[in-house]
Assembly symmetry: C2
């Protein structure tokens, strides 16, 4: 039910093209996962994601456990039936909310106590609870509870936190009841190389179906993120898929692919779309800008998405400026299509041993300005 | 370029099934036109409207003239190209904004001066301007500028206003430059039968491609609206299409169809959808209600819309409660499909001389509680 095969290793770097077979079908890697925090990718229908070619999305265990609650989803027959998404789902563990909702949670050896961001209700998540919830959701790839550290983070705190995360990783593996679900191990350790190395060794000793680099994209400067990915990625076993959590800005994706990373997620393409920022080969386009008032070209010439095939910059600017929901829908379709096309081109370039040339050309056109979140 | 053919007259009432051939294709009547105030039907894509079977939408001249402006749309090649809507478009004249933006406008014999609802800029619309703008937009059915009266309205005011509206109707017809565009005449006169009769006689003397009953659905009680439609509709020539402006609540539609009305528009199905109110054969359904928390049935059993074929009440409730845009999208798809299905069934029942039986059965299930807007 979970199998990773490397299709081709690029001859001039660590990039690889692969295939993952999971609970709801196969998908090629490197792959980008749009984020479906509440069970849906915002402002786009499941059939539209399928049309674009999305094969896997990411849902947030913490958010779904609070609303509508695990029981509602379990009774509906799991997250796939509940949301009508028929392909793979990776669920995160709440570890990111340990970081993003820092003021609302307390970490203990047993797990994390949250005060719900909705109404303050106290909820306790142990590593075992979190695995069980994801099993109830019917997730295809389960992530264990971890402590996603902020940046900067003191060495001693990061060291002790890593021990906790590793202990939770072991407990998570032991908690796994249902067969055929994949469980990934998450690397933490802040930006300390010795901690990363130690943590990864222990994770590999426990043994997981895949591995993730957590604790990046938490506010650090871009060069530090690149350095962390470059120095960490080679420490993982090559035969398992590697996922960098929370990373999805195109230049970051290209860098990480070159280091052998296989999976990505980020709210950026969808959030930016709703805020009127679209992506093109030539960089970001702020669609509300006056320069587009009478521009009857598509967002991105040559793009085959529904938005670009049917609507002009002028119309999209108008829709955005009069605050129409359709503006968010059409921008979202384009940005997700943009990411899918990027990933497809990355995979093709790897298969043809020209990933580095592709990366260089893409960055020359797109620009290297780094931003995420 | 504009032709109305009556297909069948129901043998037991004034209802008729017809076909209109206009600038962008043919559509069967009675027909419901979803409202696309800013050029788009809110929260639904043009391809989705086509999939549902919508053949004509209504756009607002006033709003489009303000943003993005007639020049932008004209340069884009007209409203059809600008919005990517390939079927028919009826544009209203701004007459409804004379009513709805009463505090921002001044009526003069020459036309209406508005202070833009966006930034207060003064704009003047003469009847000739309004026809010319609609020609620039490339509208298939043009409505002349009129004064849509509030309710209640004093007799003397309504009488003088009717003279103005009739004068503007004549000026509008004389202003028409492009061939092949249809121009409808709008009946006003508040709820005074003698004024309605006089106005319609004069409109028919001028001669229009179709006629509209304006000045209803402006806050009057339901029984008065029914009475106005019943007493006014028979005064129009049977061989021309008849449109009741701003009416679209299912019981109102059924009543008006029985009086020989052919066309409808209303923001109700789309606005209600965005507010979480959906329509079913058994009446309104407020999707946020707790009773739907674990209800895994579709919104409406037997409905074949995308929403009902793929999503449960439980999921739709969840999406609405966590304020996801997708909730608005899916509710909108259902409500427009509901209206299209209603109109299709009305047409079929007329063709088979069983409209009154259909109406009775529908109202028994749906309820007769009257609301609009």
């Amino acid at each position: 039910m979970f199998k990773f095969s490397i299709f081709h290793n690029d001859s001039s770097c660590r990039a690889r093209a692969g295939v993952i077979e999971a609970g709801h079908g196969i998908f090629e890697t490197p792959a980008f996962m749009p984020v479906a925090t509440q069970g849906d990718v915002k402002a786009i229908e499941p059939r539209e994601l399928e049309e674009i070619g999305v094969e896997i999305i990411l849902c947030n265990t913490y958010h779904l456990a609070i609303r509508p609650g695990r029981g509602v989803i379990k009774e509906a027959g799991g997250l796939h039936r509940f949301t009508s998404w028929k392909k793979n789902i990776l669920t995160d563990s709440g570890g990111y909310q340990v970081f993003s909702l820092a003021k609302l949670r307390k970490i203990m050896p047993e797990g994390v106590k949250f005060n719900s961001h909705v109404d303050g209700t106290a909820i306790f998540f142990s590593p075992e609870d979190v695995v069980e919830i994801q099993e109830d959701l019917g997730s295809d790839i389960i992530m264990p509870l971890d402590e996603c550290l902020p940046y900067p983070c003191e060495y001693n705190y990061a060291r002790d936190s890593l021990d906790l995360t590793l202990n939770w990783a072991l407990r998570s593996k032991n908690a796994l009841k249902r067969e055929g679900r994949a469980l990934f191990g998450i690397s933490q350790g802040s930006f300390y190389k010795d901690l990363r190395r130690k943590g990864i060794e222990e994770l590999v000793n426990i043994g997981f179906d895949g591995y993730a680099i957590g604790g990046v994209s938490v506010g650090e400067e871009h060069s530090l993120r690149e350095e962390a990915v470059s120095s960490t990625a080679p420490l993982f076993p090559r035969e398992k898929p590697l996922y960098v959590m929370g990373v999805g800005y195109p230049p970051d994706v290209l860098h990480a692919c070159g280091e052998g990373v296989d999976m990505f997620d980020c709210v950026m393409p969808t959030r930016n779309a709703r805020n009127g920022t679209t992506f093109t080969r030539n960089g970001k386009m702020i669609i509300r800008n006056a320069e587009f008032t009478r521009d009857n070209r598509p967002l991105e010439e040559g793009c085959l998405c529904y938005t670009c095939c049917n609507f002009s910059r002028s119309y999209l600017r108008h829709l955005f400026n009069v605050k129409e929901i359709l503006a968010m829908q059409l921008n979202t379709i384009h940005n997700i299509y943009f990411m899918e096309r990027l990933m497809r081109e990355i995979r093709e370039s790897i298969k043809e041993d020209r990933f580095l040339a592709y990366k260089k050309e893409f960055l020359n056109n797109f620009g290297r300005k780094y931003e995420c979140k």
